[in-house]
Subunit: 509 residues, 2 copies
């Protein structure tokens, strides 16, 4: 079984907010999907625009240098940003500026799915800004996506450091234009956006007074956390619902492999799993299942949600109910199919499933994973329900060379941003960062789960999944979620209050 491929795929999917991946990557597709990225984006935007009538903003553009850290001649590019001054109390009253660090997808989608920021802006009298991450959405260099994604030379400037500098330059210019130089900026971000928010607070303390970094796996590099942790956490999400469910899934891989080796085995698998066309290899099927389980762990929310496709609340519970609850005599594969259908076909509309067969396209996150964002992941023999797999850096590098003609720099992120001993490094350095994580989220394994200092704090929600705190509130929010958001608001108010106090002290002098 070609594990690297499967793991590359997961890596690319998993770090994303669920649908962000779909906007920009090549995720496992359902029948309705045509080609990846471009076609997905409008579909999902359209979908979400229905749900977010309360969000009003202007869309603007800002001319950015392609390379902030050299003076080589490069064409500039136009960075899109969304802005709302509707509730802003303005520069005279030092109205705060809430800046969401756009991550790997269309910024309009992130805006629509980060209801928390929009909901709290009025009580803070805050301006809201959603700058888009370079090379995503409409913030594409070189005139077109095709040109920008042509090769390693054009993709070269798609890095986290450049994106942070984009934010820094943009906010500095905007503040100047608004005569708002003294207005405090608070950063927000989820997933990779949360990584950016925390890194931005650390690298640009003069630009932002604090950061809420939700589900930000800034420790998922090198050997900072165990390589098995991601898949162990996915597996635990299933095990906590039902040991037999966990066991069925764990056994299913061998069954699939055995089935695939039979005469007409692939045809049989195609039928069992209702694949459109004919299954080319068992690996494709395993990737498809693998992704679904990991997705499910991330969106294991306590209420129905509607990302890639509609899902019930506690979706893993529902999947396991199907796997465990099938009539006696139901085969392992049929159980798996019934379970997975909760994820891929909850509405029951899908006639057949189309498996993606090109996970290594010229995709933004794939590029980032092949350059800076090397997150080594293995699957342990006992604790994981996935096939055992040891991360192999050479194979990974080889694949990146094949896909992009680029060599990953697996140690760069910890060199640039730290991570090996974050508690000791930041205990007496830095301030005002919230790391929030839900323990059901497999990315929490790479998150900061312990307080680092008085003002660099970890908020941990045992029942939380992937950055649920950033989503709009709903009537179904459990108490812990309501409390979590209240704590975040309180902390942010504290940062801003401290800032005002320091400003007053300075102006009193």
């Amino acid at each position: 079984m070609a594990k690297p491929k499967s793991f590359d795929l997961l890596l690319l999917i998993a770090v994303n907010v669920i649908v962000a991946a779909i906007l920009t990557s090549s995720p496992p597709s359902v029948a309705a999907a045509a080609s990846p990225s471009s076609k997905w984006a409008p579909r999902f935007l359209g979908k979400f625009s229905r749900k977010t009538e309360q969000i009003r903003y202007e869309t603007r553009n800002f001319s950015q240098r392609l390379d902030h850290f050299s003076f080589s001649e490069n064409p500039r590019f136009s960075q899109r940003y969304l802005i709302s001054t509707e509730h802003w109390v303005g520069p005279d009253r030092l109205g705060p500026i809430f800046l969401y660090c756009g991550n790997e997808g269309d910024i309009a989608w992130f805006a629509a799915n980060t209801g928390f920021v929009w909901e709290i802006a009025p009580q803070f009298g805050a301006m809201v800004l959603f700058p888009e991450h370079r090379y995503y959405g409409k913030s594409i260099p070189y005139g077109s996506r095709e040109e920008a994604y042509r090769n390693a030379t054009t993709l070269a400037y798609l890095t986290a450091e450049q994106a942070l500098a984009d934010f820094a330059v943009l906010i500095t210019e905007l503040k100047r234009n608004f005569s708002a130089e003294d207005c405090p900026v608070v950063l927000f971000g989820g997933s990779y956006g949360g990584m950016l928010a925390s890194w931005m607070r650390l690298k640009y303390p003069h630009i932002a007074i604090g950061a809420l970094a939700s589900s930000a796996p800034i420790l998922q590099f090198e050997d900072v956390v165990p390589k098995e942790i991601f898949y162990d956490l996915v597996s635990n999400d299933f095990k906590r619902e039902s040991t037999s469910c966990f066991n069925t899934i764990k056994e299913s891989w061998d069954v699939i492999t055995a089935e695939g080796e039979k005469n007409d085995g692939l045809l049989q698998l195609t039928k069992t799993f209702r694949i459109c066309g004919k299954l080319k290899s068992t690996e494709d099927l395993m990737d498809w299942l693998d992704s679904a389980y990991s997705y499910l762990a991330m969106v294991n929310y306590p209420y129905p949600s509607n990302f890639l496709m509609p899902l019930p609340g506690h979706p893993i519970r529902e999947v396991c109910k199907k796997i465990d609850g099938s009539p006696v005599g139901t085969s392992t594969l049929e159980r798996i199919f019934r379970g997975i259908s909760v994820y891929y076909n909850y509405t029951g509309d899908v006639e057949c499933f189309k498996l993606d067969d090109d996970p290594h396209g010229m995709d933004g996150w794939n590029w980032q994973a092949c350059t800076e964002m090397v997150m080594p992941m293995s699957s342990g023999r006992d604790t994981s329900m996935f096939p055992a797999y040891d991360f192999n850096l050479s194979a990974y590098q080889e694949q990146c060379w094949k896909d992009f003609g680029v060599r990953p720099r697996p140690r760069w992120i910890t060199t640039e941003f730290g991570g090996h001993d974050i508690k000791a490094d930041l205990e007496r350095f830095g301030s005002n960062i919230i790391f929030s994580n839900g323990l059901l989220d497999p990315w929490s394994g790479g998150g900061v789960l312990q307080n680092i200092s008085e003002s660099i704090v970890a908020l941990v929600a045992p029942e939380g999944a992937h950055h649920i705190d950033l989503r709009a509130s709903t009537n179904e929010d459990p108490d812990w979620l309501v409390d979590l958001r209240a704590t975040e608001i309180k902390l942010i108010k504290g940062w801003i209050g401290d800032y005002y106090q320091r400003k007053r002290k300075v102006s009193d002098i």
Copy 2:
């Protein structure tokens, strides 16, 4: 009078440690000098090597990426670094690593002129590292200085951020090779090197536990400090010795201009100032004087020193003695000449003075000043003894375009590193930085002169000049200097002690 030229020249000279400028720039030359940079370097190295027999190190090289912040294809280059493990107690005892942030010149020269680090290393059991700044000394990309300095494309990667990343990558790799990952790193730097040291502590807190930034004008950007401050401080250094000296110099510019406009005026000036060949313009003469006054302010040390040329202790006092003490009836210009000769010809060996006529060569610091290091400087009408001049950004930018084909980014440094409100920004962010400044040093005007927090402190020496604390101790050191260094040692010991305590706490858990 073409002021911009004069000010560009000063800018390029002044930010340097005195001789560092000579190593790499095109300073006003004395008769003995041939062409700039390459010829100067060995001369000064040789000179200093005599004085520094106690310094022993190995010279090594490290392969670096030319661009850390993109994945564009660039040739790697070889960074030179000096290393001494002679006194290092090794990784098992967590021996500290002292890293001097190489600035704009040959690193061997900085090593020879930073005696403080070498002197204190034994009592700390510290390794000593002097990595060279890219594009200087022997750390030249593209195979040769000629290629590296060919044009804006090849010079593009000569930036402070890239230099900091060089240090970060180098130290990370070295620590790994020495199994010294847990050894604390302390940064040192003077002048631009001090700026790098403080910025490195702020941007890479996981790499270094503290920084001693001596005479680091990190606030000399945009409008953070008054544009007149540099020349005001130079002028004050003269005024404090003698008001009449200050006045004579202040009046001399008009006298020179008037003289130059006479028939044979330039010839007369050539004679008065013993210029080799014939003076081409009064501006050249004024630049030459201008530079000397600013240099003198920087090296206004209390004991004889020997940088560019041998100087007496309190050299400005000596200059003013000559200016004031000339017999009654001595003309203004003759007084100026006698005064300036203390600087340019203390030994009396020089027969005639050669004025440099190409201050805008392809020089490293000129490039940096034309890209990131835009330090606006004006000369005030009343407080300055120099001709009045208002910094003109357009003229500055035009000159940079003419010299290098590059557009300066005057707001970039404050965007990347802050500065506008450093007290408020860092009061609750960051730790363990010493900003030391001598108030006689004109660069102290752009320095941090007030404590920012309990551990980001300013040490101010009213009688100090340019980073005298980093120099080797001498028998003539005044008490305040001995005390200043003792305070620095105590603070650094505190950082290291705290670090060991945190490490113990972690390993106890």
